[in-house]
């Protein structure tokens, strides 16, 4: 199990967020990470993936501090989707997925029939069949995002940490994607933590919500999160009023 314990995250002694006590992420949960820009959502995801930016406290995976986990084991248990696109655009979607089986292949990276089958299944699930042999440079932003999401799933890890999986997608594709990811969670017993600016959609679909309030990282069930006035505190604005996870634009006088 992935556990955060009294962590402080940030850069060079400047804490940007912290949590008090334990936060544990159970199996087969779909968890939204909500917070305004710059509160530390991406930093927290990076911290959980590798222990980077951890100033105090502990991030542990199955009882072992994240920095001490063997790199190969870690790669079989946590996969990531980042917003950073410094990926080579000359590889094809298929090659992207093949390389991402690295935690399971031999030193030459040779694929077995099982690896191929896993890749094929993901390609079908994420409607990448037509794009399979296209170079990443020829894809639209949305298609590339879909390929990168497929990449994080092909690694078959217990935990998948996604930084803004819904970015670059149209609104109907956003809904489709989140529903698909949720059913993936339930079907295979994987836990997905995802940050998103689609608050209404994310909180409606998530089982639990991890949110940033005044430097503090808090964790609640989605129902509890929506009941209280939390969203009003997270995104204060004289022009918005929040109700049950949805916002309403106030009439301007």
């Amino acid at each position: 199990m992935l556990v955060l314990q009294d962590i402080q995250i940030g850069y060079e002694n400047e804490t940007i967020a912290k949590c008090v006590g334990h936060i544990a992420f159970a199996k087969a949960k779909f968890i939204a990470i909500i917070g305004a820009n710059g509160v530390g959502k991406s930093t927290l995801l990076r911290c959980m993936a590798s222990g980077n930016h951890l100033l105090e406290g502990n991030v542990s995976l199955n009882g072992i501090a994240i920095r001490k986990v063997n790199l190969d084991d870690l790669a079989q248990q946590i996969s990531i989707l980042t917003t950073d696109r410094s990926i080579s655009k000359s590889i094809t979607v298929n090659q992207l997925l093949e390389i991402s089986r690295a935690p399971y292949t031999n030193f030459l990276g040779s694929l077995t029939a099982i690896d191929q089958e896993i890749i094929n299944n993901i390609i079908t699930d994420f409607e990448l069949v037509d794009l399979r042999h296209r170079q990443l440079s020829t894809l639209s932003d949305g298609q590339l995002q879909r390929a990168l999401i497929a990449r994080s799933l092909v690694q078959q890890t217990d935990y998948i940490l996604m930084d803004e999986p819904t970015s670059h997608l149209d609104i109907h594709h956003k809904a489709e994607l989140l529903i698909k990811l949720k059913s993936y969670c339930k079907k295979y017993g994987k836990t997905i933590l995802f940050s998103s600016h689609e608050i209404a959609m994310a909180t409606a679909l998530a089982d639990q919500v991890l949110y940033f309030n005044d430097e503090y990282i808090r964790f609640k069930s989605a129902a509890e999160f929506k009941e209280n006035d939390i969203l009003q505190q997270l995104f204060p604005s004289p022009y918005l009023s929040w109700q049950d996870g949805q916002y309403v634009l106030k009439q301007l006088k």
Partner: protein, 332 residues
């Protein structure tokens, strides 16, 4: 790329090798070549072949393959299509090492001109520049900045070389200038053996990082999340690149364009970035291209020859321009 393409490329390599040995200021027929190689002849031609042309052709193969591999490694590591031992100043660093060892003896008070001292100082020079570039690249992520810094480091080392040249006696100066023009010849079989074993060592190291190299195509963050030990991989790449570029540059002089152009040609032919397939192809193309350049440099049937560095630039520069025009841009 199908099997028949590989067979074609390997035959081309063999053909170029034989042509490089047979052609020169005097033509030696293939029948006579056979006789000489089998030891059934001892004429002047025997000396020309075994002591001059065969070592030079072998050096062309080693140099072409080695520089092309070094270029490929740097392009993958920086995910930058313009990276190469030359562009990023690695060759200049090696040149600086050589300049200090040839011309700095009067300043340093001791001489390093022996074969081993030359290789060691060349490798150290390239290592110093490479480490500097890596230190800078940790802070500066963008391509343009890195390339400009590479050029600056290159001109810094040429400035130091210039000062050394100004103060050095004409004998040493001449030696350095000749080194700078590049030459695949004048190597003994012993020296070739040193270079060959260094290249062999690098190839063994290369086997260990095929998977990390492929993972690096996804960028460092993803590579790490795939279980790749970045620090270790980076050091192996540095070690291999400096061994290759340093040892080759020590003997052959600074040879431009091979390291930059060959990996692109290989990727274009292969239409894949998989290093498992890329490495053999880069080796074959690198060796063939430099053999071809060497044949041109010998100006067959004439009494003149051109410096190899001039020929690789004459062939390489238009090649890179053509690649960019054909593919619109060199992307990675």
């Amino acid at each position: 790329m199908k099997v028949k393409h590989y067979i074609f490329l390997i035959s081309l390599l063999l053909l170029l090798f034989v042509a490089d040995v047979a052609l020169g200021s005097i033509y030696i027929s293939v029948e006579e070549l056979w006789a000489i190689v089998l030891g059934n002849s001892d004429s002047t031609n025997h000396y020309i072949i075994t002591q001059l042309r065969l070592p030079r052709a072998v050096m062309a193969v080693l140099t072409g393959a080695g520089l092309a591999i070094a270029g490929m490694l740097m392009q993958t590591m920086f995910r930058n299509p313009l990276a190469g031992p030359f562009v990023l100043g690695i060759s200049s660093g090696a040149g600086l090492g050589v300049a200090i060892s040839i011309m700095g003896s009067s300043l340093l008070g001791f001489s390093l001109i022996t074969g081993f001292g030359l290789i060691a100082s060349s490798i150290l020079g390239s290592l110093a520049v490479f480490l500097l570039i890596i230190l800078i690249s940790l802070r500066i992520k963008d391509t343009m900045g890195l390339l400009i810094i590479g050029l600056m480091v290159g001109s810094l080392s040429s400035a130091v070389v210039g000062i050394l040249q100004y103060f050095s006696p004409s004998e040493q100066l001449r030696r350095y200038v000749f080194w700078g023009l590049g030459s695949l010849g004048n190597l003994t079989w012993n020296e070739l053996a040193i270079i060959a074993s260094l290249i062999l060592l690098s190839l063994i190291g290369l086997l260990l990082i095929i998977k990390p190299l492929n993972a690096l195509l996804l960028g460092e963050t993803y590579a790490r999340s795939l279980g790749i030990n970045l620090k270790q991989t980076r050091w192996i790449i540095i070690a291999i690149t400096c061994l290759l570029a340093g040892s080759i540059t020590a003997f052959a002089g600074p040879i431009a364009f091979i390291g930059l152009a060959v990996p692109h040609i290989a990727r274009m032919l292969l239409s894949s970035m998989d290093h498992k397939k890329l490495i053999p192809l880069v080796i074959i193309i690198g060796a063939s291209l430099l053999l071809a350049c060497d044949i041109v440099a010998q100006l067959p049937f004439s009494n003149y020859s051109l410096p190899i560095n001039a020929v690789t630039s004459l062939v390489g520069a238009p090649l890179v321009i053509w690649l960019i025009v054909k593919k619109r841009y060199l992307r990675f």
